[in-house]
């Protein structure tokens, strides 16, 4: 599903440039649930941004489901993001003047799906995350866990190939974190490829594979026995 070869990325900070990714080789098969771990500054967010086409690598190749991702202009990048990727952020990033339902429907809006159809699809995903009764609520009327579940529903709405989650449990307490992870595991069980960036070991243990990043290089890539989140709740 994802093929990365010799990926380099550096940022310019004033006069000196910081080499963040120093040659990443990495592949993810369909249906995997991968945790990317590392201390802050290890380059895990940068990697995720490149995977999410929010940022472009300086060097190296990136293939997503057989499609080479390079030299994208903004318009095409936007279309690929919309079609292939779903994002879940640490700070939820819901649009606060839109109801939960409208938030979930937003990716479909940019796909040009008609309103009625859009609402139906969005509603079905809200049901899936167990928030059908909160469809008309604004984000600030929801709890943190509920917000993240709305965000997950939104990421799924466009039926993407890969779900990218950047510290999805970073702003949540342990109990809610596990609930969210249970949801993510459930989605993975249905066969969707998911990448989770985290620095929490217990969260990482709930995935199927842990990739450890340090100073811009992969130092460790191991498969783990998945811990089901539900057993910890």
């Amino acid at each position: 599903m994802i093929e990365i070869k010799d990926l380099h990325k550096s940022y310019k900070m004033g006069s000196n440039s910081i080499h963040v990714l120093k040659g990443i080789n990495f592949s993810v098969a369909e249906g995997e649930l991968v945790a990317i771990m590392g201390s802050s500054g290890s380059g895990k967010s940068t990697l995720l941004n490149i995977l999410g086409m929010l940022d472009e690598a300086d060097q190296g190749s990136y293939t997503l489901d057989g499609l080479a991702i390079k030299n994208l202009n903004e318009k095409i990048a936007a279309r690929y993001r919309n079609k292939f990727l779903g994002f879940v952020f640490q700070s939820f990033n819901l649009i606060n003047y839109k109801s939960a339902l409208d938030n979930v429907a937003l990716p479909l809006y940019y796909q040009g799906v008609k309103r009625g159809e859009r609402i139906d699809i969005a509603m079905s995903y809200l049901e899936k995350v167990g928030l059908a009764n909160w469809a008309s609520h604004l984000p600030n009327e929801l709890s943190g866990g509920q917000k993240q579940r709305v965000a997950i529903a939104r990421a799924l709405a466009s039926n993407p190939k890969v779900l990218l989650a950047d510290e999805p449990t970073g702003a949540l307490d342990t109990k809610t974190s596990y609930e969210v992870m249970d949801l993510i595991q459930g989605i993975n069980d249905e066969g969707r490829t998911i990448l989770v960036v985290t620095h929490e070991h217990d969260i990482a243990q709930m995935t199927k594979r842990i990739v450890n990043l340090k100073d811009g290089l992969i130092i460790d890539d191991t498969r783990v026995n998945q811990v089901r989140a539900l057993s910890n709740v």
Binding site: G52, D55, A78, R79, N82, N93, Y97, P107
Partner: protein, 421 residues
């Protein structure tokens, strides 16, 4: 682009902060309000002043004989001469672009002695010998009977059309006028009509109603004028200007009367068109000032909108980042900011136009109840063209106001946007 979704996005974004939206809108509202009011006031002044011309054919001039100031062909300067009826024919023949050439003779004058008698009543009035065309040059309403016609001219009928002012002085109220006789300088004329003049005749509305018109030929015969013509009213065709044609007319007169070709003082004239053009020029300038001031005021409103949109974009950095991460193309973002700005501009502009026209309607309603004939102001109004111009200005300025903020919005990288929290 104009789908329901788009609109609900715009409305949602603008209603997210009501107070700010209204305050911003007020800037544009005020600008367009000033523009429309200024234009309407200018129009009102113009209507008021032009009303004085009372529908007179403005492409006209009046000319009369003065004394030559240069000796020519053995004739001395300072001699007296008069226009002749043959001059009228010569002018008509040689200057084809003229519509009317009306010779006129006159009796009496301002503050003249009594010259009209009817029974025991006497009065001093201006008496004109005229051709039927004069009613096209100096419009008047015939309130009863008829005006002079060509049969009157041909048969030299001694008939007269009198003003409402004359009738008031010379007749008892309710007395039958048509068919009665009045004696002008000792000659009886039958009254065949009465008139009422429009306009205020250079501020002399009273005097304008105290005139008597008789056929030119009858006048000449009755008062021993012979071939003499006192003065002429000449109107040019619509396509050409009398100011350009008048030198041709003067040349004919000069050659007919042995006047030095460069003697400009031998013929007196009053060029109505020139006067009218001067006034017209004034109003063009006034309109330009109104546009200038109005658009400048509008501009400050537009800058306000642009400013607010910049802040809005800044505030929504995060939201724009999310939208882009979810697949919004740069044009979708740019379009949304532009639409918001244009929408806000047009809505507030419409409100401004509505408010201004409301006030104009109110002023008109007030003016209706008053006698405006003495006022230099009447019927302030804006035509559809002005409103359409204003709307065009609004759309363009909304676009301009949104341009910089929209450009700023697409400069936001999703990564940066999502990191700001």
């Amino acid at each position: 682009m104009f789908s329901r979704d788009n609109w609900s996005e715009i409305i949602e974004a603008l209603t997210a902060n009501w107070f700010r939206t209204v305050l911003t809108a007020f800037g544009v509202l005020w600008g367009i309000f000033i523009l429309v009011i200024l234009l309407a006031a200018g129009k009102g002044l113009e209507n008021g002043v032009k009303k004085d011309f009372g529908g007179m054919a403005t492409n006209s001039m009046f000319m009369w004989a003065q004394t030559p100031s240069k000796p020519y062909k053995g004739l001395p300067k300072g001699r007296r001469y008069n226009f002749k009826t043959s001059d009228v024919a010569a002018i008509k023949q040689n200057v084809p672009d003229l519509r009317y050439v009306s010779p006129r003779n006159q009796l009496g004058g301002f503050g003249g002695a009594n010259n009209v008698v009817r029974g025991l009543k006497t009065g001093a009035f201006n008496v004109y010998g005229d051709y039927p065309e004069v009613i096209m040059q100096e419009p008047m309403d015939i309130t009863s009977g008829r005006f002079i016609n060509y049969s009157d001219i041909k048969d030299k009928r001694k008939v007269a059309i009198i003003g409402e002012g004359v009738r008031k002085d010379m007749y008892e109220p309710g007395e039958e006028v048509i068919g009665s006789y009045i004696k002008i300088n000792g000659v009886n004329f039958m009254v065949i009509g009465t008139y009422k003049k429009k306009g205020n005749n250079n501020g002399n509305a009273e005097e304008a109603q105290k005139q008597i018109f008789v056929p030119f030929t009858a006048f000449s015969q009755a008062f021993n004028m012979g071939e003499t013509v006192g003065w002429m009213a000449i109107t040019a065709n619509d396509g050409s200007s009398i100011t350009e044609l008048k030198s041709q007319v003067f040349d004919i007169i000069k050659s007919n009367h042995s006047i030095h070709p460069e003697d400009d003082r031998a013929i007196g004239n009053f060029d109505l068109y020139q006067e009218f053009s001067k006034i017209n020029g004034l109003f063009v300038a006034l309109k330009a000032v109104a546009y200038f001031v109005g658009i400048l005021v509008l501009l400050s409103g537009i800058i306000g909108i642009s400013n607010i949109m910049l802040i809005v974009v800044k505030e929504r950095t995060n939201e724009i980042g999310i939208r882009r991460a979810l697949g919004a193309t740069p044009w979708a973002i740019r379009g949304q900011i532009l639409m918001e700005s244009i929408f806000l501009t047009i809505i507030s502009g419409m409100a401004g136009i509505a408010l201004a026209t409301g006030i104009i309607a109110l002023i008109n309603y007030q003016l209706q109840g008053m006698d405006t004939s003495e006022m230099m102001f009447s019927n302030p109004s804006v035509d559809l063209g002005v409103v359409i111009t204003a709307l065009t200005i609004l759309i363009i300025s909304g676009l301009l106001a949104g341009l910089i903020p929209a450009q700023n919005a697409i400069k936001i990288q999703p990564v940066d946007a999502l990191r700001t929290e």
